[in-house]
Amino acid sequence: MALLRVDNMTHFFGGLRAVHNYNLVLEPGHIVGLIGPNGAGKTTVFNLITGIHTPTSGNIELSGHNLIGRRPHETAALGLGRTFQNLLLWRHMNVLEHVKTACYSQLEYGLFGAFFGTPKRHREEKRITAKALHLLETFEVSEFRDRLVTNLPYGVQRRVEMARAMATNPKVLFLDEPTAGMTPDELNRMIAIIRDIHKQFEVAILLIEHRLKFVMELCERIQTLVFGEIIAEGAPEEIRNNPQVIEAYLGREDVT
């Protein structure tokens, strides 16, 4: 059974059809890429599935739970994690705090504990700090744990954002242009990290990306979105050679 299943999802912003009949079947542990020109509706697809917007019509199911009409904090609780194209980090909080904040619902203490510092709260904080530190290691950002994110290089910020998304224990991870603004070195590092977390946490991934090298290398399957519609879906080689994709998306660019 598919982990995440989207059927005929359509969304209008006023009179503008942003997404039309979008379908997705994401199996556990798979990595699917979503490519397409700017303004094709890729980020809107993410926003619709994670509950930031509610689709005009269609169905979304995550391991049997209907996601339509659920608010973002509920979809997060059910197992959706995501990063953002423009890095929504909390600039004057440090790296460790980012990851710990994302563990909010796993910290099992209430207001009483928060106000009066019960032993239970200290136990919980300790447990979550250990978990957070492990995540910082996985994403190779341990050395920055006490630094404010606003002072960190862009590539590091990207990794912090991913660590934060993974801290919510997602079953499905949405990555919105994880390599935007990265140097080639950082890019290779990112490929290695995504492979690593994919193996380590057995998380399914849907990623939006512009760098085809990255998508081709990581994804089992690729969807091409143009004007809100999937014009092609298949294995990397099929997409690379699909004339429609080449025309609509790649133009004359060299596909490598």
């Binding site: 904090h73 909390w90 801290a167």
Partner: protein, 307 residues
């Protein structure tokens, strides 16, 4: 010199009131990007709730002949009034601000003004125009230390205020709710995707701010035991000035600016006739703002766009 130290003591007392109230403005601003202009009136409501709780507790003590000393009743009054007033804050958030979360900021601002007027006139309609006098729960004990006159009440006011502020600081820096609040001060989009419900954190912020205002109200009533429905107006505006002076959304700034305000006011009375107090004090603050328009700890991020 003695007079100077005496003034410091008085400034600390007034600063405590301003700081406790200013924190409420600042907390709400930092996460919702709006000033809750009804906050001064929540201070007033908190004082009245404190009055009600204290009267009820005194009545109970008398009726059942309980051997409760005044200071226990005072502590219970502060705790209970803070608790009850926090619900007033949550209610205001729910009916007044939540429906307007995506509305233009100006609408949210007049909401605060309207709620303030409703609280003032509602109180007037309910309890009448007569001023109430807050029961004297503890006797004033005056003692002299090196020529400075201290009263047990002044010490209590400053100590309780500082304790509450430290507790708030720890709560915001260390607890998961505090971290969620700080995260919410940056964005509303990523925060829910961390499993945090904005509709839980926003009322919590109002609740804490209102609780602190209630504490300020009772402490204020200890020093100036006359309650009237408009008692929160001027004090609220002054605390609002402190919140801006501290830097919009900065908790530490609000507390420090609250105390600074107390100092400026008290020391202008030391030098000038007392009728000049506010003229001098607020001219000084205008001057400070001219040089530091973002306040002490104001950061550019507090003017960011919010989705």
């Amino acid at each position: 010199m003695q007079l100077f130290l005496q003034n410091i003591v008085n400034a600390m007392q007034w600063g405590s009131f301003y700081a406790l109230i200013a924190l409420g403005y600042s907390m709400v601003y930092s996460i919702l990007m709006l000033f809750n202009f009804a906050h001064g009136d929540i201070f007033m409501v908190g004082s009245y709730i404190g009055f009600g709780v204290a009267t009820a507790l005194l009545g109970l003590t008398a009726a059942f002949n309980l051997p409760l000393p005044g200071w226990i009743i005072l502590v219970m009054t502060i705790i209970l009034a803070m608790f009850l007033t926090s619900f007033v804050g949550m209610f205001i958030e729910r009916v007044g601000y939540r429906p307007l979360r995506d509305a233009p900021r100006a609408s949210a601002a007049i909401t605060g003004l309207m709620i303030g007027i409703i609280l003032e006139t509602g109180n007037l309609a309910l309890l009448g125009a007569e001023r109430l006098s807050f029961p004297a729960l503890i006797d004033t004990v005056t003692f002299q230390v090196g020529g400075i006159y201290l009263t047990n009440k002044k010490i209590l006011i400053v100590v309780v205020s500082l304790a509450l502020m430290s507790a708030l600081h720890l709560f915001i820096q260390k607890s998961k709710y505090g971290m969620a609040m700080r995260a919410m001060s940056y964005d509303f989009q990523a925060v829910p995707l961390m499993g945090i419900s904005i509709n839980k954190i926003a009322p919590l912020t109002f609740a804490i701010g209102s609780g602190l205002a209630a504490a300020a109200g009772i402490l204020y009533s200890l020093a100036y035991p006359v309650l009237d429905p408009y008692m929160g107006v001027l004090l609220g505006w002054k605390a609002f000035v402190a919140a801006i002076l501290g830097g919009r959304g900065s908790i530490l700034g609000a507390a420090l600016a609250g105390f600074l305000l107390g100092f400026i006011e008290i020391f202008s009375v030391w030098i000038f006739p007392s009728t000049f107090r506010d003229v001098i004090a607020y001219s000084v603050i205008l001057l400070i703002l001219a040089f530091r328009p973002h306040g002490f700890f104001g950061q550019a991020h507090s003017t960011q766009l919010r989705l």
